[in-house]
């Protein structure tokens, strides 16, 4: 238990000490929120879909949680060769404990990041139906964070070089984001795009938040959102642990 705790604490300390990085990581969500939020707002309204800022805010929150959590796992690439990972791998503790500590740490940081972006959304004019629903939305952030931290861990365990990292970034992380319906409604899409978006776990996380916040154009039942996230997260955690166990340095 103390092993998991200290590895979790380590991730938090690293996060709070990299102030410049925190500010930098808020740049991208801010850009999406303000440029798209206000830029696409009039078109969205004319199409009769309501307020775009209300719609896109959960998407932008989901995006920051996605990036932050999946990067915590992909960081294994660097950590394995030049970082702290080896130190933990030769210690007399099980790999599972190390993996859980790191995943929980990465997920916690991602949720904090999501809360920061949510605060910015509120400042920009985003209004949930009730403020007491924020903790429920946080529950969805936690699910997204755990799911993608575990996926990042699974992928990061096998990454060998920087090129592989680029590949994952362009062919996995960005598609997960763009196909999640963070920026456009998932209703009334063509058949192919409809299926692809339904296979994207982030879609359910963002949709769950839309349901909770009362944003327009939510696509699924919130119970479906929750169930899908729980199942996929459980599968990814097991998968991540299995892959992490196979790391050779």
């Amino acid at each position: 238990m103390s092993v998991i705790y200290i590895l979790w604490l380590r991730e938090l300390k690293r996060y709070t000490r990299s102030r410049a990085q925190i500010v930098a990581s808020l740049g991208q969500p801010l850009l999406y929120l303000l440029v798209l939020g206000f830029g696409l707002g009039p078109v969205f309204k004319r199409a009769g879909n309501g307020n775009y800022l209300q719609f896109v805010a959960p998407g932008v929150i989901g995006m920051s949680v996605l990036f932050s959590s999946i990067f915590s796992g992909l960081g294994l690439l660097w950590d394995r060769q030049f970082g702290f990972l080896k130190e933990t791998l030769v210690a007399p503790v099980s790999r599972l404990q190390i993996m859980i500590g790191r995943t929980l740490g990465g997920a916690t940081v991602a949720v904090i990041q999501g809360m920061l972006v949510m605060t910015i959304c509120l400042l920009a004019g985003f209004r949930p139906v009730h403020f007491f629903l924020i903790p429920v939305a946080m529950g969805f952030m936690v699910m997204i964070a755990l799911l993608f931290a575990a996926l990042g861990m699974a992928i990061g365990s096998g990454l060998q070089d920087m090129q592989g990292f680029q590949l994952i970034m362009n062919f996995l992380v960005m598609p997960i984001y763009f196909l999640s319906g963070a920026l456009f409604p998932l209703t009334g899409l063509g058949m192919v795009l409809g299926y692809v978006t339904k296979a994207d776990p982030l879609a359910y996380g963002i949709d769950g938040m839309r349901n909770v916040f009362g944003s327009p154009m939510a696509a699924f039942d919130p119970r479906v959102d929750f169930l899908v996230l729980v199942v996929v997260a459980a599968v990814f955690i097991v998968f991540g642990a299995w892959r992490f166990n196979k790391i050779e340095i």
Binding site: I6, L7, F82, F84, V90, P92, Q160, M162, E248
Partner: protein
């Protein structure tokens, strides 16, 4: 303390370590020398449970590291070729995490941390982030950390790579001191023959995965009829430069150098 018998490791058709046998006595400093790609790091990885041997036996303090992995791990400390500190954390925090990972009780952890950081002249900087440390300081911290759980064996994989002569000298002085006071067995690799000559009680020379000589530095010089260990080494391993392809780790090392301004 370390007993290796007929150790073999193959990667596909390539034999990295070929039928290597040696013993290291308790309290001894043993230097493992060899050109790049000779099998030094692969051997260390097998000794420290990071890699499974294809065949052969290893005993660390009487334990088979394959069978009783966690007990074996408690008995050694290791300093890797590449840094393994967390630069965002302070020196004291790096020690703290190590103590928790090795189940060192809280009180003892505090006590040992203070003792070791003072010994390695890092106590005044204990609350500074490690990324602000010089290459030599980082190395010293890694060695101090390796001693925290009072191991019986310390593995050092090219610990002085990239350090200036002052830092190297200081580092070996510390290692020798701990070797004497705590009777820790030291197993090291290095490319600096003068260091091996000065520090090691016994030396093993490995080339193409095979152990080509072992004995005290003077015995090896005598055996080859040379006056310095460097000459002896070249006589044993030849003077051709080993063609070694840069692997992913080397490429990343290059990248790391670029970004960190080659601090190490």
């Amino acid at each position: 303390m370390i007993r290796v018998q007929n150790l073999l490791k193959t990667f596909g058709s390539f034999t990295a370590v070929n039928d290597v046998s040696f013993e290291v006595a308790e309290g001894e400093i043993f230097a493992f020398l060899g050109p790049n790609g000779a099998g030094k790091t692969t051997t260390i990885k097998m000794l420290t449970t990071l890699l499974k041997p294809t065949s052969g036996n290893i005993e660390l303090d009487g334990l088979d590291p394959q069978v009783r992995q966690n007990e074996a791990r408690k008995r050694f400390g290791i300093v890797f070729q590449d840094p393994s500190l967390d630069g965002d954390l302070t020196a004291a925090e790096n020690m703290e995490i190590h103590g928790v990972l090795y189940h060192v009780p809280h009180k003892l952890r505090r006590h040992r941390t203070e003792e070791l950081l003072k010994l390695f002249e890092l106590w005044d900087r204990r609350n500074d982030q490690v990324k602000k440390f010089s290459g030599g300081m980082k190395r010293r911290l890694e060695i101090a950390r390796g001693f925290l759980h009072t191991p019986r064996i310390l593995f050092l994989d090219e610990p002085t790579l990239g350090l200036d002569p002052q830092s190297r000298n200081q580092l070996w002085t510390h290692v020798k001191k701990v070797n004497e006071t705590e009777r820790v067995t030291v197993f090291l690799t290095t490319h600096y023959m003068d260091e091996a000559d000065r520090v090691a009680h016994r030396i093993g020379v490995i080339d193409h995965g095979k152990l080509v000589a072992q004995g005290t530095p003077s015995a090896i010089k005598e055996q080859t009829g040379t006056s310095t260990l460097e000459d002896a080494f070249l006589t044993l391993t030849g003077s051709t430069i080993r063609a070694e392809e840069a692997n992913a780790a080397d490429q990343m090392r290059q990248f790391a150098k670029m970004w960190s301004g080659a601090k190490r």
